[in-house]
Amino acid sequence: MEKREPSHMLDLPAIKSQIGEVNFCFRQEVTSTNDWARDSASQLKAGEINLFLAENQTAGRGRGDHVWYSGPGSLTFSLLMPCPFNLQDPRRGLLALATGCGICTALRSWGFETQIKWPNDVFFRQRKLAGVLIESVDHNRVIIGCGINVNNEVSCIESATNLRSHASDPVDLSEILIALVRAINWRVSSIEQAPGELIGLVAQYDGLVGKLVQWSTGRKTGTGVAQGIADDGSLRILTDQGEIGVHSGSVTVLSNL
């Protein structure tokens, strides 16, 4: 068996014992933890929270046809959990931001001053550190997929960074994972009770405010200056036509103002 680097190893018993009520499933390799969670959903109780963790993901997905690259030393996992909001509830749109907030809160407790790039990325020093992809399943559950660059090699991707590059020693994957799962679970579970607290935290972590951005929704694009996040989670952008709210698609930073 191939010997693994210590910085790439996971302490599975420690993870299992420290993630509270969350059920834990582990595989060394999967195509995508989101697909694994979806395939498993019908055999799991609707009210449970399940963590699907894989050491390697061979076909991780981002939005649309984007691919999430993950290798040894990174964290790729999905949380299958009940969705507190039905399809018509606009608060449903807060789930990605809540996940991003959970990631930032956990990583900031380790000294990494991360920021949210609306709506589903986490950046550190202007580079992408983590991505989130959320999918609904069974109409009342969601799969929250997360990919975080920790000790893995990212030097071939100019726009990406990892925690290892900014720490004196390799980061303990298991400890980071436990902190992330706890923080995401808490943040998502408390949206309903404290939406204002979430929006306040998003404003604190917002990495786009004041920047010139280009938004793209399907085939439509536009530019403007990001003004912050509205209470429904949409991105407020000041354009030459006035202020608009962007609810879907993606945003690219054109320049810092």
Binding site: L87, G93, L95, G218, G222, I244, G249
Partner: protein, 162 residues
């Protein structure tokens, strides 16, 4: 829509106007506003541009203005002009006909669906929401193109109910 009153001004040259209109059509521009010192020509196509929340079934959905209250939409509602029922979008977002770029569409015209059949995805703030048909029947039409923005209440499919 021009400010210049000089009849000899070449800014009103008909060929120039024709070229501008062709350019606007070619690039799907809604407005051109040219100025040269005191001379000005401003040409606009279609309705006044707006970023307000479009009415239900408006052809363009996003972006929408901040503060527009989103009324919950029924998943399925009778269409006005025939015996079909529309499956409407329950949220603002981007419409996807298939679960992944390399996968087949969830449904196609002629398919039979049940209330729980997933007919499409609508992505809102990077959450990909499976949209159920909400009705049993046969898909009569797909009303929105893949990756098109949709608003709350936008009809997505026509269904002939069982």
């Amino acid at each position: 829509m021009a400010d210049d009153k000089n009849p000899e001004s070449e800014v009103f040259d008909i060929d120039r106007l024709r070229n501008l209109v062709e350019l606007m059509q070619e690039h799907d521009l809604s407005e051109i506003d040219l100025r040269n010192e005191a001379k000005r020509i401003k040409v606009r196509r279609g309705a006044e541009p707006t970023y307000a929340v479009p009415a239900v079934a408006a052809p363009v959905a996003a972006p929408v203005a901040t503060g527009g209250a989103a009324a919950p939409a029924a998943a399925a509602a009778p269409a006005e002009d025939d015996n079909t029922t529309a499956i409407n979008s329950p949220m603002v977002g981007t419409f996807y006909t298939r679960p992944k770029p390399d996968a087949p569409n969830f449904v196609k015209v002629g398919d039979h669906v049940d209330a729980d059949t997933v007919v499409c995805l609508v992505e809102a703030m990077k959450m990909f929401n499976e949209i159920p048909a909400g009705i049993s029947g046969k898909i009569a039409a797909v009303l929105v193109k893949n990756e098109e923005p949709v608003d709350v209440g936008k009809p997505l499919f026509k269904v002939i109910p069982d």
